[in-house]
């Protein structure tokens, strides 16, 4: 399958990128360091380990997705390696999808490794395996999928530096959309309010994938929320990838 060939090739290339290992090192260091921090706390020690661990997975995962994703398409265009690929009997969307899946696979491996370290540290502390931690990790991964798609989108038309900035902006907006909601409550009904409401619904809400607080504090989550949240992630990712395809389709490779 053509998409598979490109995906595997992308995976091979991405997994060689040294940035991955640097970020992995920092994440592992943070998780292990949290164990030390836990000793200093008074009270529930495991909470800090869980909090720091999940936050590291999320943050460093996002950085990996952004730093590698923003170069994926741009590098091919810049180094002209794309010429020999696009001139083959392959649809442009197949190329893009292959890139996306390749990076996804890379992230799967990295998150998997980081999760192992994290779960090992938690296990060492509690001597228990908590399935809810896995759920939190799965949704962190879903969030990363969306961020990857965004990084690739920007990579189709913008330099890596600009793309990284835009992707980071997306990440920030995604995590502060509740602020917009608060603002909406204070607005009087009218055109501004409608605009704000539209923006609020359209802009990404990455907090939908954030189960870290619930998992760490032991709060309940309604199962149907997982379902809707997961679908949300899927469709938003499809949306971004479609947008990327439209832009990439018309692109002249000068």
């Amino acid at each position: 399958m053509k998409v598979k060939a490109i995906a595997l090739n992308t995976f091979r290339e991405a997994i060689r990128d040294r940035i991955l290992y640097l970020l992995f090192f920092f994440a592992a260091a943070a998780i292990i360091f949290s164990r030390l921090l836990a000793i200093l706390t008074v009270g529930d020690r495991v909470k800090i380990i869980k909090d720091v661990g999940l936050a590291s997975l999320s943050l460093f995962g996002a950085l990996m997705a952004i730093l590698i994703g923003t170069g994926l398409v741009y590098k091919e265009i810049d180094k002209k390696t794309i010429f020999t690929v696009i001139s083959k009997p392959i649809h442009r969307w197949q190329f893009l999808l292959g890139k996306f899946l390749g990076l996804t696979l890379t992230l799967l491996v990295m998150i998997g490794l980081m999760s192992l370290i994290f779960l090992a540290v938690v296990f060492a502390h509690t001597l228990r395996l908590e399935p809810r931690l896995l759920i939190a990790i799965v949704f962190i991964f879903i969030e990363l999928l969306l961020i990857t798609a965004v990084a690739i989108l920007f990579s189709c038309f913008s330099t890596p530096i600009l793309s990284s900035i835009f992707s980071l902006a997306f990440y920030l907006i995604g995590h502060t959309s509740w602020g917009l909601e608060t603002l909406i409550r204070k607005l009087r009904p009218g055109p501004w309010r409608m605009l704000a409401q539209f923006l609020y619904t359209f802009l990404p809400d990455l907090e939908n994938f954030n189960f870290r607080t619930e998992v760490v504090h032991g709060l309940t989550i309604q199962p149907k929320f997982y379902f809707y949240s997961g679908l949300y992630g899927l469709f938003y990712t499809l949306f971004i990838l479609t947008l990327a395809t439209i832009i990439f389709k018309k692109r002249d490779f000068v």
């Binding site: 060939a5 390696t81 002249d252």
Partner: protein
């Protein structure tokens, strides 16, 4: 795959227009201003032009890397963007860059998988291709350790991986040493002997002259000449270059142009035929020697330079 009939047109380009929008306030700078030509099956077609004339732009349009503003391109009678048309072509870009960390074999495997094919057949194909381009020994070497010549050759292998009917080569001979160039020329000719068509983009005229059947010359975005080489270049002798020794310079002065004088030898460029006889008589009289006598007909270079000057 059946070979098309000899005079069938495999590639036809009609009225291509393309302008680039450059700068912050987009200003259109036109590159292709109505390019039309056609390539017949089984020939080696040369596409030449000075730098910046639009050669690469045309080629990229043909391959679907760039979208022309208007015009039509048909490959094997179909749209040039259709996948079935693309299955029959191969492309070697200028100064190819490839994925550095792949080995030669892995590289070719990757491209093979972009075509409808199966694994087993691929392996054999790849081995024979590597042999064809002389890279068997480097099959398991990473591409970043390849020399430029080796990169060129693996690029050619990649262009041939699907046994294409039409092969596009963009400046394939640049940067090669004389041996490499001869080898590549031989490969190109052998492709034609296999019944394939070759589209050769170049500005090295000697090579074009040596291998091509038909050419098109593009200058400033327009095709200024198109046809079989023998039709475009007349057989008329333009001048004769004679190398003599033993004849005093003053006697030769008004017979022609001195191209070089080294010690006893003088290289003289003589335009008119009677003057050649004159020179020969002088040499006999003075008991001198003729080292060489080369009549020069119009070359492609002459044609080319003339076309560029006109454009």
């Amino acid at each position: 795959m059946s070979q098309p009939a000899k005079s069938e047109i495999v590639l036809s380009v009609h009225n291509l227009f393309k302008a680039y929008k450059t700068g912050f306030i987009p200003k259109r700078s036109p590159v292709l201003k109505g390019v039309s030509f056609s390539v017949q099956a089984g020939e080696i077609f040369g596409y030449l032009g000075p730098n910046g004339a639009g050669k690469t732009t045309t080629l990229k349009c043909l391959l679907g890397l760039i979208f022309p503003d208007s015009g039509e391109i048909r490959l094997f009678g179909e749209s040039h963007l259709s996948l079935t048309a693309k299955e029959k072509i191969g492309y070697l870009p200028e100064n190819p860059y490839f994925y550095e960390y792949l080995t030669g074999r892995e590289f070719l495997e990757f491209y093979a998988r972009l075509f409808p094919s199966d694994r087993g057949a691929n392996r054999e194909k790849i081995t024979s291709l590597l042999r064809l381009v002389g890279l068997e020994k480097a099959a398991d070497l990473q591409l970043r350790k390849f020399s430029k010549g080796m990169l060129q050759r693996i690029g050619l292998a990649q262009a041939l991986i699907n046994n294409p009917e039409l092969v596009f080569l963009d400046e394939p001979l640049g940067g090669l040493d004389p041996i490499g160039r001869k080898e590549l020329r031989d490969v190109i000719v052998s492709l034609r002997e296999q019944g394939k068509t070759v589209f050769l983009c170049s500005h090295i005229l000697q090579d074009i002259e040596m291998v091509c059947d038909r050419v098109a010359i593009i200058v400033a975005g327009r095709i200024v000449a198109q046809g079989a080489l023998e039709d475009l270049i007349s057989e008329k002798i333009l001048f004769t270059e004679i190398t003599v020794s033993g004849v005093p310079k003053e006697d030769l002065e008004n017979l022609g142009e001195f191209l070089s004088v080294r010690g006893e030898r003088a290289l003289l460029k003589v335009y008119e035929e009677p003057k050649i006889d004159h020179v020969l008589r002088l040499v006999q009289e003075k008991k001198g020697k003729i080292h060489s006598l080369v009549p020069r007909t119009e070359t492609l270079e002459d044609l080319f330079v003339g076309m560029v000057k006109q454009g």
